[in-house]
């Protein structure tokens, strides 16, 4: 119903490409960047979140060095995502970050501490030093994952916005049941993803341990995912309107369930690369579902639908969106090429050497 109201707001002078308007294209680009971020930083955040499950100094060190050369590059996707939102949808950028002021500051401080912990941990031989940084690293990774999930949950559930698209609630609002459930699911998803990644990168006894942890975190993820799904279906039915209205799209959740089911199957077979790809695809499909549910909204306001921000009323001018798409068209193949080159360079099991963290 509200969705329909917006077709009239839609500017008639919109430029299109392949029959899809440019704003929607940029929404797709933004979604792709966020998925890229979740998949890439997801495994290193997950590896951080399960860090304290490893008991040996050497194991912890190997686990950190498994993500060592790439975590920084993974985090850049967040910067690109922030830039993509700022550039294409400045109204949404302004509303989201001034609304999520406190959780976002906590998230940012978490990012700083995590980076510092990775850098500092192995600098001194004292056990107390390494233990302290291990705890900082693990706690920061958990806080980052939870706050990402919390913000995602609130974006999905909607925020109270006034007519100028400004947030009118306070920070206690963010702790609603849906967002808390999404936060826990995000953490579980990242932990599973990270555990599978570490299984790929380790050998010997640590490898055996990681296999066990991969199974456990897969169970953790499936449980929290099922609870969140049932909660959403029961208490926030309008979030599944899209799929109810278009049964053909049910193929996406179905595909995702197959993907999730494939993870334990591949784990059992010892095919960790396939398990990792499955969990990466699961993350992508989850975000595709979120995108289909919220589109054309970037930030929905159930209390005051007129204050909602869509990809149309929150976007930059057509000229800017066009420029951005050109930038993305030139930039994406470049980034993809050298990212794969870097990942390929560091493929295989981790070996500690004198340049290691």
């Amino acid at each position: 119903m509200i969705r329909m109201a917006f077709t009239s707001v839609k500017n008639h002078k919109m430029h299109t490409f392949l029959g899809i308007d440019l704003n929607t294209w940029w929404f797709l680009v933004f979604g792709a960047v966020i998925s890229g971020y979740a998949i890439l930083d997801g495994f290193d955040l997950g590896a951080g979140a399960l860090h304290l499950f490893l008991k040996k100094e050497q194991s912890r060190r190997i686990a950190i060095n498994a993500i060592g050369p790439i975590w920084d590059g993974n985090e850049v996707w967040l910067v690109i995502g922030g830039g993509a939102l700022f550039a294409g949808f400045p109204v949404a950028y302004a509303a989201i970050f001034s609304a999520f002021y406190i959780p976002f500051m906590v998230f940012l401080v978490g990012l700083i501490w995590r980076g510092v912990a990775i850098e500092f941990r192995s600098k001194e031989p004292m056990l107390w030093w390494r233990k302290t940084w291990d705890i900082v690293y693990c706690v920061a990774s958990i806080i980052i994952s939870l706050s990402l999930g919390l913000m995602l949950g609130n974006v999905v559930g909607g925020l109270p916005l006034n007519k100028d698209h400004e947030f009118t609630g306070d920070w206690l609002f963010f702790f609603n049941p849906l967002s808390i459930l999404v936060a826990i699911t995000t953490l579980a998803l990242f932990m599973m993803h990270g555990a599978i990644f570490l299984t790929m990168k380790t050998e010997n006894r640590l490898y055996v341990k990681m296999r066990l942890l991969s199974n456990n975190f897969t169970v953790f993820f499936v449980i929290s995912f099922v609870i969140t799904t049932f909660y959403t279906l029961l208490y926030i039915p309008h979030l599944s309107d899209f799929f109810k209205a278009r049964p053909g799209y049910f193929v996406i959740p179905l595909l995702m369930i197959l993907c999730i089911a494939n993870i334990p199957r591949q784990l059992k077979k010892g095919k960790y690369r396939y398990a990792f790809i499955s969990s990466a695809v699961t993350i992508a499909l989850l975000l595709v579902m979120v995108a289909l549910e919220v589109f054309p909204y970037l930030l929905y306001s159930p209390q005051n639908p007129a204050g909602s921000i869509t990809v149309y009323n929150g976007a930059s001018s057509q000229k800017t969106v066009k420029i951005l798409l050109i930038i993305a068209l030139i930039g994406t193949p470049l980034v993809a090429t050298y990212t794969s080159f870097v990942f390929w360079t560091f493929k295989g099991k981790v070996k500690l050497d004198e340049m290691s963290y």
Binding site: K56, E57, G83, M105, E166, T339, T345, F346
Partner: protein, 470 residues
């Protein structure tokens, strides 16, 4: 305190802290490229050891630069959401280009730079070093373009009114090449290169004074000295171009830089002095008519003074702007003098015998840092009360819904985090410098024993338990 002052303090603090690091990575990037290039060309292991040493320091600096930079990107949205909406169409596209063209390039190849020595060939490693340097250069391009657009807006038109007014791009290339962007970009690039060069000079001077690692310190010092001499002289030119640009595009800022109030009189250029903000008078040692000469080529021509602008359209902290600007110039001149002096003694073949000069160089790392900070403060405070010159006032750019308490909370949080971060940075820098450019696995290194950078604990072949199994 009101939200505006708090938000400005927070921004100045976080950007000031951030701005210590990226210039160092740009400057060090160039030095790394030169050193590794020399290694590949000559095959001399001295250069390899030097480049390996500086890559470790580069990694540390880069890490803190990224961490503090992510905060900057989102601070526009948290504290300055009206500004974000107003300039998003323009600023955002520059920021997006920066992310995709610069940051991704830099961080992607950094992994190979640090951890890839054994995994790729020397040529591929050298290529990665060049890519990291290019990435850091590009990252300066887009952010300086965005900032220059705030100083001298171009290629846009205004759509909407009141709170919904915003600037939209009409001409992308006119926006990118706005009147001040090229001059300011060159000025920032060179300042960054100087920051890197003086860091290398300083550390190596310290080694030379203490007679340590001489066989590596001396050639490294000469590389950095060459870079410093060339670029500090070039900076004179870009500095002049920037000042010239300001005189055409931002007359109120120019007047504030030199504390010039009276439009009817000739304008003086000060070496140093003091501006009495209340009585609107400037005192100090000056070149009479110097500013008139800069602007018009005539010592007696009048230049618009601050009094020509309504009080709410000109900067109020004139003395601070004046001092920051002159501090930057003094520091710049000192760097020219110091590097020329060094070059002179190098030519006389007595460079490394001058202990007093080495001591001065050991502390010279502070010069470009002071210059960079002072220059930015002058540029940003000189633009006040505007955040986008002539279009949007800083007081109108705030997030409407953010309260003073939220900003105080985050300001305290950042202050604490940054103090710890800075202490850890100094601690680690000191360790790496104390450790020196010693090759791992060599006799010299093994004798150094415990000073290994990242010690591996090997008491037990199976690794030791950090926590007892329960």
């Amino acid at each position: 305190m009101d939200v505006e002052i708090l938000a400005r303090i927070q921004f100045a603090f976080t950007i000031g802290f951030h701005y210590i690091y990226p210039p160092l990575s740009i400057g060090l990037g160039l030095i790394l490229v030169i050193m590794e290039g020399l290694f590949l060309k000559t095959g001399n292991r001295i250069y390899e050891q030097a480049v390996r040493f500086w890559i470790r320091i580069f990694a540390l600096i880069f890490g803190i630069g990224v961490a503090t930079g992510i905060i900057m990107e989102f601070e526009f949205g948290t504290n300055w959401s009206t500004y974000s909406k107003y300039v998003g169409d323009i600023f955002g596209s520059a920021l997006a280009a920066e992310g995709i063209f610069a940051f991704a390039l830099e961080s992607g190849f950094l992994g190979i730079l640090i951890f890839g020595w054994k995994r790729v060939s020397p040529r591929v490693h050298f290529f990665s070093t060049i890519m990291v340097f290019f990435g850091s250069l590009f990252s300066a391009v887009w952010i300086v373009v965005a900032n220059s657009w705030q100083q001298t807006p171009a290629g846009y038109h205004i759509v909407g009114e009141g709170i919904n007014a915003r600037a939209e791009i009409t001409d992308f290339w006119a926006m990118v090449f706005n009147p001040s962007s090229v001059d300011r970009l060159l000025h920032v690039w060179i300042a960054a290169i100087l920051a890197g060069a003086f860091l290398v000079l300083s550390v190596n001077a310290w080694y030379i004074v203490h007679k340590k690692h001489l066989e590596i310190a001396r050639p490294s010092f000469k590389i950095a000295l060459t870079v410093a001499a060339i670029f500090s002289l070039l900076q004179l030119y870009t500095g002049h171009r920037s000042a010239d640009g300001v005189s055409h595009n931002q007359p109120a800022k120019l007047a504030a830089l030199e504390g010039h109030y009276d439009s009817s009189s000739r304008a003086d250029m000060y070496l140093f002095g003091y501006v009495d903000n209340k009585r609107e008078k400037t005192m100090g040692i000056k070149i009479p008519g110097g500013l008139s000469f800069l602007v018009h080529g005539d010592f007696n021509a009048p230049v618009p003074g601050l009094k020509a602008f309504p009080p709410d359209e000109r900067p109020s902290q004139v003395n601070s702007i004046f001092q920051f600007y002159h501090l930057m110039i003094i520091v710049g001149m000192t760097m020219i003098g110091l590097s020329l002096l060094g070059t002179w003694f190098w030519w006389k073949k007595t460079l490394f015998d001058k202990r007093w000069l080495m001591w001065i160089f050991a502390f010279s790392v502070l010069l470009p840092q002071i210059g960079n900070q002072a220059g930015w403060f002058a540029a940003e405070m000189g633009r006040q009360p505007w955040v986008v010159y002539g279009m949007l006032k800083t007081s109108d750019a705030l997030s409407k819904m953010v309260t003073a308490n939220q900003i105080i909370f985050s300001l305290i949080l950042f202050t604490l985090v940054y103090i710890v971060l800075f202490a850890l940075f100094l601690f680690l820098m000191n360790r790496k410098i104390q450790h020196g450019p010693v090759d791992y696995g060599t006799k010299e290194h093994i004798e150094e024993g415990t000073k290994r950078d990242n010690p591996i604990l090997e008491h037990d072949p199976d690794g030791i338990y950090i926590r007892k199994k329960s």
